[in-house]
Amino acid sequence: MSIPWRGVIRRILSMLGTLLGVAVFVFIMLRAIPGNQITAGLGTEAAALTPEQRAALEAYYGIDKPLLGQFFTWIGNVLTGNLGFSSRSQVSVLSLTLNALPVTFELAVLSIVLALLIGIPLGMLSASKPDSPRDAIGQLIGLAGLSVPSFLLASALLTILSAKFGFNPNGEAYATLTEDPVRNLRQMLLPSLTLGFGIAAPIMRTTRTALLEVRSQDFVRTARAKGVGMRRLQVRHILGNALVPIVTITGLQFGYLLGGAVVVEQIFSLPGIGRQVLIGIQGKEYAVVQSTVLVIALLFVVVNLLTDILYRIIDPRVRAE
């Protein structure tokens, strides 16, 4: 396995350009708020400010300076690790983020593992006999995964399990994996099942399509003709070649999870990065929102880059280019 360095370097350079664009976009987006950070944060109390108080606050937040200056100050701060300060929780956004990231990361890994455990066997089952009853069952489960909103599944699981069985691990304070592994995993169970079920659907569909496509190719017939055993044919030749699209979709979904788990984190009170954005929005703490969204976009872009590299490594056709 060799890594195609030239392509990787080109991708990293274009990624840096994209990230600069992301920073500009986030910066402009938060300037689009009606009023400014002060009036938005204080609400109706803002009307009671004297002009001097207002000027002092504007100077404090740096919003009396020209926009371009504000942007470069922010970027400079972010690059030196200063993501801002959350006045509500009285800690820096950096430490908030460093506490939230492991939660989201663990949730994403567990969800992806569950999704692969559900999605790949289902896809193989469906593809083993297209248009048969077992294919229909597989496709039906896939359709349900695509169509049931995660917030509905999460709400239903939570209410039913806690009412009927008294199972509500997420009612207690959150424990990290190192503090209390058992409690942590109990708290991760329902959220990762919810997300895993949803993500299993695209993985199942991709697996099914890829298997059917690979199976119809000439080299499979050749392998069969030269007497390759059924099991070896299935695993080595067919699944091995179908792996490329499956890896791509899995990487993409993992990226979504790092920022897209907002709803599930919120419902199960998991202190992850998505919930941090939401709390920032609800508390009108735009410094928190601005920096957290930037961090999430950075992670998302990096995960996509890694997926792309992995895909280049495992796909012989791309490697040859």
Binding site: F25, L146, P149, F151, A163, Y256, V263, I281
Partner: protein, 290 residues
Amino acid sequence: MTVEMLVDTPPRGGQRLRLLLHSRSGMAGLVVVCLLLIVAVAQAVGLLGYNPLTQVPGIRLQGPTAAHWFGTDQFGRDVFSRVAAGVANTARIALVAVGAAALVGTLLGVVAGFFLKGPDAVISGVTNVLFAFPPLLLALSLASVMERNWFTVAVAIAIVYVPIFIRVARGPVMSLRGIEYVRAAISSGQSRLMIMLRHVLPNITSIVIVQVSLSLSWAVLTEASLSFLGLGTPPPAPSLGSMIYEARTLVYVAPWTMIAPGVVVVLLVVGLNLLGDGLRDAFDPRKRGT
């Protein structure tokens, strides 16, 4: 679907319709979506008899009856008419969002793929930036900074979908540029605008239509998630997501307040997904004649 296939076999409207009609799941999706929309429209024009906002304190949290098919909620409002109004709200937002995204995204994608160079660099750069955000996060960040009403929710969702349509249109247009009749049109000195409208756009309509139908189910899910998080259409306007949110504390005493909007949102998304899959198969030239 690749361009070669599109260009090899020019699309035929009647054949596609037949394929869609023959796909049982596609038809089932169409029927489900149409039924839900009919109920929503009937509600909107006042045929169902109840106002989804009228509170009747005497009949709070009543189970389903002949008068109130889906029961009543904690304010004595009729759940059936609220669900119907919620479908109308969601459908309006999803249609406006996906329609706007398809229009803007396709045009930008055609321009980028046709002119390449400068315009392409700018448009593709913007596309990459928008793709750098997880979709739901982008939608909720955008929704949070705008004045909150149904239209801004639609705008937020539309912005998330624009890059998808840019990418869907750009690739095929780049390939079309190399096809003989387009090159002939360019060298015969026809205006670029005419070439794009007459030769390029018609060739990518089927790809765009399929993408529209697939995006609608996502848009419905996004709208419902936003309103569940309190970032959708503001109350008291009924929305499926916020109804489910409110029902979480009521579900022990009045399960119908969650079941009704929950089942309907799933039906709507299932219907749109089936319809989308059916359309995709109908437009896929590989399935033609099978």
